[in-house]
């Protein structure tokens, strides 16, 4: 009994001496570079690098791992990225690599990898949306619409009247000189239309045309026509539009980080991640 008590108390005393963890590299004294009588070791270089924006690297590496499991890069993604690289090379010519490196990339390959990474991120967001389809559709409420905009009320009203009379939207938009892109578009609750237009989009039934709606300072006048308010009828388009939202991107990433659990075993790095990305540690 006495021995047990002594051991127990001894263990507790030892535990009070626990300190924060710091991870060290092996062979830290290996020389990376010398200039004259000055030496840069691996430890010295590591200390410098960890003092930079290391939180981004932790989150980035963790995200890559999640992406490789959830949405591995497909040949289609790689082909699309290679097409993009060819396009950029044709624009920048011999200056391409220098331009890439001046923007923080270590090489053309690392830039190419970042493009593939972005493709995977988009697919991860789409996957998240598909897995939470009903909830996301309710939140973002995608609707397929036509929208025309004009710089004066009278023109907008005339265009609206023509639409109510049954004229084709694209014809009317062209005829009356709409200043916005003419064609079908997917609107969501995050679309950057004026409040009045968002309200109208939320309330129109399929086939209906709105009244003229002005923006806040009455410099632009809108007419909206509802094509289809049922997201399930244009699911892929809705997915792609919503996946472009930074809010849903962030929501998706945090969801997967919560599932995979990021744990950090170095105090300095933990503090850096906790300062910049606290939600990723939950």
């Amino acid at each position: 009994m006495k021995k047990l008590l002594v051991v127990l108390l001894g263990s507790l005393i030892l535990l009070t001496g626990c300190k924060d963890g710091y991870a060290s590299i092996s062979n830290g004294s290996e020389v990376v570079m010398t200039v004259g009588d000055q030496t840069l070791t691996k430890d010295g270089l590591y200390t410098y690098m960890v003092s930079q924006d290391v939180a981004y690297d932790v989150v980035s590496l963790s995200t890559e791992h999640i992406l490789d499991i959830e949405v591995a890069a497909t040949q289609e993604m790689i082909d699309e990225v290679d097409e993009q690289m060819e396009y950029y090379a044709s624009i920048f010519g011999d200056y391409f690599e220098v331009y890439i490196m001046s923007n923080g990339f270590s090489s053309l390959d690392s830039f190419r990898d970042s493009l593939i990474y972005n493709q995977q991120l988009t697919e991860l967001t789409k996957k998240y949306i598909q897995d939470n389809f009903d909830e996301v559709m309710q939140t973002y409420a995608p609707k397929k619409i036509y929208v025309a905009s004009f710089t004066d009320y009278e023109t907008a009203e005339a265009a609206q009247q023509a639409l109510v009379n049954g004229q084709d939207f694209i014809e009317v938009a062209n005829e009356y000189g709409s200043t916005s892109s003419i064609g079908e578009t997917i609107a969501t609750s995050e679309s950057t239309y004026p409040t009045g237009v968002l309200y109208v989009i939320a309330s129109l039934n399929d086939g209906e045309t709105s009244d003229v709606v002005a923006n806040d300072d009455e410099t632009t006048f809108y007419v909206v026509q509802m094509i289809n308010s049922q997201a399930s009828d244009f699911e892929e388009e809705a997915l792609t539009t919503i996946a472009g939202s930074s809010t849903i991107n962030n929501e998706a990433i945090l969801h997967y980080f919560s599932n995979y659990k990021l744990n950090i075993y170095d105090k300095q790095i933990y503090d850096a991640v906790n300062a910049s990305y606290p939600d990723y540690l939950k």
Binding site: L12, A23, M33, D37, L40, L61, S110, L262, N263, Y265
Partner: protein
């Protein structure tokens, strides 16, 4: 056990209470601490899902993104510290800069200032607030190094800069014109007054102080250092660069009004005096964007520079924007 309790009940109760408090104390002390982890003898930095990222792997990853930047930080610090000994004046100046920065951060951020200051210190490759003096010392030495390199003109950078960028000190007199199609009586009167004063050989600075509509009027019309890269409106820039020392333009029309521009000096001693030195060096660094890495690399080569691998060396030279050896 029951017998023990019957015999030493009080002691057992006290022992239990003490142990409970100890457990709580240990838990309280350790909660919030970051645990360490190692796998197969390697320290782990972080884990995500089933992936453990060791410090060695993390080092390799960071090196691909930040290695060159880290080596560059080492390059400039090791070169300037080996070329220049720290003097008492340098130390005093560095300490003054450091104290000034700490004060600025404190007055802006209050009690939290150290957190933000450390962020800034880390971003330039140093670790603690105490390192600020070292940072400024090395900046002072770097400024001296660049100045000495430029003035030695070994690679012609100074000659080329003077010829192509035409650095100079200029002054001007501005008469603002609201509408060039309808010059007001007041505006015309000012133009006439300036012309009259110039014809009477009145000192340019005096005319500027009295008549110029620009804020430089307070300084006798002095705009100070400029070169071909200075962001003046095109008409002003072209006219100012065309002047020889001491020459003055006719009226130059810009969107602001009419200017008379004077080239105060193109003399190198004036351009590099205490007042203008900093602007001159900024100008030449903007003109030759590879000046700093090139000069540091050249000096490093004379001191002797080695790398752990040829690949590191080749990548670093590319990072500096310099030609590879032999190319």
């Amino acid at each position: 056990m029951v017998e023990l309790f019957k015999k030493h009940g009080f002691v057992v109760v006290v022992a239990i209470i003490l142990i409970a408090f100890s457990i709580y104390f240990v838990w309280e002390d350790n909660s919030g601490k970051v645990p360490s982890k190692s796998v197969n003898g390697e320290d782990i930095v972080f884990s995500i899902g089933d992936l453990n990222v060791s410090a060695n792997t993390f080092y390799d990853q960071l090196k691909s993104d930040l290695g060159n930047s880290g080596m560059y930080n080492f390059l400039y610090r090791s070169v300037v510290n080996q070329v220049y000994e720290t003097t008492e004046d340098m130390e005093t100046e560095a300490k003054n800069y450091a104290d000034s920065i700490i004060s600025s951060y404190y007055s802006y951020y209050g009690a939290e200032y150290e957190t933000y200051l450390l962020e800034a210190i880390h971003s330039v490759g140093y670790s603690t607030v105490e390192d600020l003096v070292d940072y400024y010392l090395e900046q002072i030495k770097l400024e001296q190094f660049l100045s000495d390199y430029v003035m030695a003109d070994t690679d012609g950078v100074l000659t080329n800069y003077l010829e192509e960028a035409k650095p100079r000190i200029v002054s001007h007199i501005l008469v603002k014109i609201a509408d060039f199609e309808n010059i007001t009586e007041e505006e015309q009167a000012k133009i006439d007054a300036v012309e009259e004063a110039l014809a009477a050989n009145t000192d340019f600075a005096t005319i500027a102080t009295e008549h110029s509509d620009d804020t430089s009027a307070e300084a006798g019309g002095l705009l100070g250092f400029m070169d071909a890269n200075t962001s003046f409106v095109a008409e002003f820039l072209e006219a100012a660069l065309a002047l020889e020392e001491g020459q003055m333009t006719e009226w130059v029309k810009t969107e602001y009004g009419y200017h008379i521009i004077l080239c105060d000096s193109t003399n190198l001693d004036v351009l590099t005096d205490e007042t203008n030195k900093s602007s001159f060096m900024d100008g030449i660094v903007a003109y030759d964007t590879y000046l700093i890495p090139r000069s540091l690399w050249e000096k490093a080569e004379t001191l002797g520079v080695t790398f752990a691998s040829e690949e590191d060396k080749a990548n670093f030279i590319k990072f500096l924007g310099l030609e590879s050896d032999g190319e």
